[in-house]
């Protein structure tokens, strides 16, 4: 019993002396509680939508205002051609394209039940589900004022308009199609950051750092030397996940796999850079682990992997935009499900590369050439 107590006291003293670990033990739960408690929202609103309005009658306009006033859709732009609409959807600039055909007003008044076409980016079914479900009643209620008195018969039993919804890319709303490619990014983030995160702290803890530092090397050499071997490991994981996605989950692979593999290289490098940077800051392996998790949790929760990106408040999206995983998810889903090519993914690739560069620069700057 005395020995047990001695150990308790000793551990307590050590933790108290280890300021950084102590701060993290307190800080991490608090920060994450605040961060994710507010951020997670499975009923995303204000989704960006575009409109293709070919009708010049008053009812088309009424419909437009009605949709715009609902909290689910934000019209970010007006489009003229079907091609433009497709591109905006592929790049992920909008989640919906709503087309109101020519002669909509006229046909409506004739009781011909004109059609309204809604194309939705359904890569992530949970992001679009609620909005689509609300559309029917939204259309009916916005046209209600126009269809009063003698026209009230038009509201009819089947509704005044014929609503057609085209969920694109993942028409059957199979969650796996969204989750499995995303998992590739998540697994890579976790593994890569963790592995290299321990790299430098392990040297310090085992006393081999003194030896390493007494040799003539530059920080870049040591840091890169610790990154490169794990790139291969990352590729092993990518391959495994792709094979599983194809044969286990039957995820469609519309796009170019070579392009995906190339982009994965940059993504892997970004995470490894993050890892070595952590290990130059952390004093021991436990701290490195904690920091890796501190990076990992927001990556999972704020990147659009777990919850629809657009369902998060603005500030959470800003944090998400910094994380490499956010961009990689868009790329993977884009390439596999939408068949995106170089043109569509290049912006996201640059954002990952920027992150990698900054992370590695911090690592090199923080690398200590001496023992003090």
């Amino acid at each position: 019993m005395a020995r047990l107590w001695a150990v308790v006291v000793k551990e307590f003293l050590q933790v108290r002396r280890d300021r950084m670990t102590f701060a993290m033990i307190l800080g991490i739960p608090l920060i994450q509680l605040i961060l994710f408690g507010f951020a997670i929202n499975s009923d995303p609103k204000h989704l960006p939508a575009a409109i293709l309005l070919a009708d010049d009658g008053p009812q088309g306009r009424t419909l437009l205002y009605g949709i715009q006033n609902s909290s689910y859709f934000d019209f970010t732009r007006a489009l003229r051609t079907e091609l433009e609409a497709r591109q905006a959807l592929a790049r992920g600039e909008v989640q919906f394209v709503i087309s109101i055909p020519e002669n909509f007003s006229r046909e409506l008044l004739r009781g011909k039940q004109p059609s309204v076409l809604v194309e939705a980016d359904a890569t992530d079914p949970s992001a679009t589900g609620q909005a689509i479900a609300s559309l029917r009643s939204l259309l009916d209620s916005s046209l209600q004022n126009d269809l009063k008195g003698p026209l009230s018969f038009l509201a009819g039993t089947e509704g005044p308009v014929d609503l057609r919804i085209h969920p694109l890319y993942n028409p059957d709303a199979i969650t796996q199609y969204n989750i499995v490619p995303g998992l590739m990014g998540v697994v890579l983030t976790m593994e890569m950051v963790m592995i290299t995160g321990l790299a430098m702290t392990r040297e310090r803890e085992r006393g081999t750092m003194e030896n390493l530092l007494s040799m003539p090397t530059r920080p870049v050499e040591v840091l890169m030397g610790k990154i490169i071997p794990y790139v291969l490991l990352g590729y092993v994981q990518v391959t495994l996940i792709l094979i599983a996605a194809r044969f286990l989950f039957h995820v469609p692979m519309v796009g170019n796999i070579i392009l995906l593999l190339l982009v994965a290289l940059i993504f892997i490098a970004a995470n490894l850079a993050m890892g070595v940077t952590i290990s130059t800051v952390a004093k021991n392996q436990l701290q490195a682990m904690q920091m890796a998790f501190f990076f990992f949790l927001p990556s999972i929760l704020l990147s659009g992997f777990m919850f629809p990106f657009r369902g998060m408040p603005h500030w959470a999206q800003m944090i998400g935009e910094i994380l490499p995983l956010t961009h990689f998810l868009r790329i993977v889903r884009g390439i596999l499900l939408k068949g995106n090519g170089v043109k569509e993914v290049s912006l996201q690739v640059w954002q990952i590369a920027l992150f990698a560069t900054i992370a590695l620069s911090i690592g090199i700057k923080r690398y200590r050439r001496t023992l003090d």
Partner: protein, 308 residues
Amino acid sequence: MSDALAIDVRGMTKRFGRLTAVDHIDLQVRAGEICGFLGPNGSGKTTFIRMLCGLLRPDDGQGTCLGENVITGSEEIKRQVGYMTQRFSFWEDLSIVENLDFVARMYSVKNRREAVRSSIERLGLGERQKQLAGQLSGGWKQRLALAACMIHDPKLLLLDEPTAGVDPKARRDFWEEIHRLAAEGLTFLIATHYMDEAERCHRLAYIAKGKLLTHGTVSEVIAEAHLTTWSVSGPDLLALSDQLQGRPGVQQAVAFGNALHVSGGDAAALEQAIQPFRTSPHEWRQVESGLEDVFIHLMDETHHNALE
């Protein structure tokens, strides 16, 4: 041997918070010389060596190491220095060859394979070269570390207690090798706690509490201490030692095997102090003070000074 100085530093100082671990140490070591570096535990030997090879930034001090500035030229110094750490610092999860190979690569050794092979051969580790370094016994780890820090043909070797835990035969081989290399012009700074090793050095530097107390050849160091030593043999030396301790003129009474060494700085006072005890069955004779007498004397002095 040339007169060029391999190590020439002045005022080297290192502070850790309020503790001054190394306090304005000046040290000159000529090329081809073996300099023994002695001092009690915690006196600052390791800290001083780390400053020489650029592992710690000195708070004060200047000078050169192999002609390079110790403050600004540490990258160049690292290339030409072999540093053996006090604590085993090779990779325990790598095998012997892998460790040597890694070191050779880090120093861009020419004919790397050949260098590694001959290093293993000299070590006599031929059959065990695939064994993990972590599985070696303490003494063998030490020998591996020594081989590894010499693989790039350094001009200066900074060895921090290289023979701690090494068996006597291996230690003798080690010192023969060191003398052979010194004759070829290599310079050594060797931290050690062994007196027999100290006596094999060309020169000694003794530090305590971060300060350099004496510096010179073995006989210079002994002469400088002005110590008179008597050796007593006979029964009940322990009781005798108790009685002698603390008498005026007696600075220390230390057991050496079957004899007791009684020393003091003032020869006359010492002789007077031991006079009452010079009876049979004890046999007294004056001996030349040895290094150990001197070092114990130095340690006691710094201890007393610290208490005052």
